[in-house]
């Protein structure tokens, strides 16, 4: 007899075959099926099948494993009427619970816009901002030397003004509650139009070249020009501009105020992104991550100090900065020229429009910057973007001279009153 130790193994108890490893297989097959059918019934069926075959345990990675079967054996308890043995249902109580839970509907993105408007002579120019959807639910569009208004409620079209063949519109922006419209022009003069009276109430001078960027905050209209200058116009004061700032070395093509924080972001063709505090004429931050022009700028409406920006053709990056800390939070190569962007008012998502070369509209999840959807419909660069006042729809303008309307976001759920609990 040798002194070898031969362990006695109860094969039937300790060597187990893990059916759990096949669970993933079934689930992945289920997900493939789900992709094909895109039906909730198929998904529910696959989950139910998985639950019935393998239970609700976490899946094991190996088919065979050594050790005790850790599945809990049903303890002998008092005989109750809701025990499995007495159940009339062919499925387990866990599966019944699963079926009782309300299913979250799968989000669907539109493949086609719900409305398309013709926009003859809409300029195919990256640096301009020719589209703005105001609080009064009226869309302002700059087409060559004319300003047009389109009412989203009635569909009525009005030509507000024609500046003449030599003076084209370069930017439009609604101010206040959507009763006044600021219009930047090739000549460098900004006109303020009162929509109710359809008359120009003011003309703001100060720029020597075209004004392609406009932003509004309380009573201040901020403008950025090709003359590399940012001007703050106090709309209450009868005189001309109030303050002038010059730090950009090339044309300013993006301006956005964060009204709650009192910070202004300015992007330029010099690839720089500056952040300003309203109390100071010197920039608070200078972000130099972009390697192309910065036109697409957006402040998060959900978190203070979160600034998203997109770079031009060479850069193609979507970046997130925290202006409270001055740090770069996230950066992602989108694969094409970022022309414009907007944050969703109802969800933590960013919509971007792209030019060279994908010409698409993209939706990104914040903060992961995971791509959620891509809408490819325009046949040229999607240069212009504006969001509806209710935050559900966006309108995109492109070099193909069309404006396309997309319903991307759901209504904001009504917050429950704190008084009723």
């Amino acid at each position: 007899m040798g002194d070898r130790f031969i362990p006695i193994r109860n094969v039937s108890n300790e060597f187990n075959f893990s059916f759990q490893s096949f669970k993933e297989c079934v689930l992945s097959h289920g997900s493939n099926l789900r992709r094909k059918t895109s039906g909730t019934i198929q998904r529910q069926f696959m989950e139910l099948l998985s639950m019935e075959l393998f239970g609700s345990q976490a899946s094991r990675s190996r088919a065979f494993y050594y050790g005790e079967d850790k599945r809990k054996i049903e303890k002998k308890m008092l005989d109750t009427p809701d025990r499995k043995s007495y159940s009339l249902s062919p499925i387990s109580p866990q599966s019944q619970d699963m079926l009782r839970q309300p299913q979250k509907p799968k989000r669907a993105f539109p493949k086609t816009p719900y409305k398309i408007l013709d926009a003859p002579y809409l300029k195919n120019d990256f640096y301009l901002n020719l589209l703005d959807w105001g609080q009064s639910n009226v869309l302002a569009v700059g087409l060559a030397s004319s300003i047009y208004l389109w009412s989203a409620a009635s569909g009525k079209v009005v030509q507000l003004h024609d500046f003449g063949a030599t003076n084209h519109v370069t930017s439009v922006l609604w101010t206040g509650k959507g009763t006044q419209l600021a219009v930047g022009t090739d000549s460098g003069v900004i006109y303020i139009w009162d929509i109710e009276s359809t008359k120009s109430v003011r003309s703001l001078k100060g720029h020597s070249e075209r004004v392609a960027a406009l932003a509004w905050n309380d009573n201040t209209l901020t403008s950025g020009g090709k003359d590399e200058v940012i001007l703050h116009h106090d709309l209450r004061a009868p005189g001309c501009c109030a303050e002038m700032m010059k730090v950009h070395e090339q044309e300013i093509c993006g301006l956005q105020w964060d009204r709650s924080l009192g910070q202004l972001a300015s992007g330029g063709n010099d690839n720089n992104l500056f952040v300003w505090d309203y109390r100071s004429s010197r920039p608070l931050h200078k972000f130099e991550e972009h390697t192309a022009a910065v036109k697409a700028i957006g402040w998060s409406p959900h978190q203070r100090g979160i600034l998203a920006s997109g770079g031009g053709t060479i850069d193609r990056c979507l970046t997130i900065h925290n202006t409270l800390t001055g740090r770069l939070q996230n950066k992602l190569d989108t694969g094409s020229q970022v022309c414009n962007m907007a944050w969703s008012k109802t969800s933590n998502e960013i919509v971007t429009t792209h030019g060279f070369a994908k010409n698409q509209v993209s939706l990104w999840k914040y903060p992961s910057l995971k791509n959620i959807a891509n809408l490819t419909a325009h046949t040229n660069r999607v240069l212009y973007l504006s969001m509806s006042p209710d935050g559900q729809s966006i309108v995109t303008g492109a070099g193909d001279e069309t404006l396309r309307f997309w319903k991307l976001f759901n209504k904001k759920p009504k917050e429950e009153s704190t008084l009723i609990r």
């Binding site: 493949k111 086609t112 409305k115 398309i116 408007l117 013709d118 926009a119 003859p120 195919n124 120019d125 990256f126 640096y127 569009v141 087409l143 004319s146 047009y148 389109w150 569909g155 079209v157 030509q159 090709k226 090339q250 044309e251 093509c253 063709n269 010099d270 690839n271 192309a292 022009a293 036109k295 031009g312 053709t313 060479i314 020229q337 030019g355 060279f356 070369a357 994908k358 010409n359 490819t376 419909a377 046949t379 040229n380 069309t402 404006l403």
Partner: protein, 101 residues
């Protein structure tokens, strides 16, 4: 650093051609007289359309092309069209015993 005034409007060399819109789901129909902010209708592009075109192109390359031509012209196709690659069939004898040989 190359920084021209209009750099963002110049397509990069690699991507001068516009995006291929052949995979678009629809076509925008524009009227001859364009009016600003006029609503445009769309025409849905069925993927089956391209398949049928391909099929019809394939059929033109097949051997039955001449038969189709003759059918279209109303003339009877020559016998060689139908049995161009077959051996000429032998005339059968009415006597079954002879045909067995």
């Amino acid at each position: 650093m190359v920084n021209t005034d209009n750099k963002e409007n110049e397509p990069p060399n690699m991507e001068k051609a516009h995006m291929d819109s052949s995979n678009a789901l629809y076509r925008v129909q524009r009227p001859l007289q364009r009016r600003p902010l006029q609503e445009l209708s769309i025409e849905l592009v069925k993927p089956s359309q391209t398949i049928t075109v391909k099929k019809s192109k394939k059929s033109t390359n097949s051997s039955s092309y001449f038969a189709q031509l003759h059918a279209a012209s109303g003339q009877n196709p020559p016998p060689s069209v139908h049995s161009s690659h077959k051996q000429p069939s032998k005339a059968r004898s009415p006597n079954p015993l002879l045909s067995m040989r």
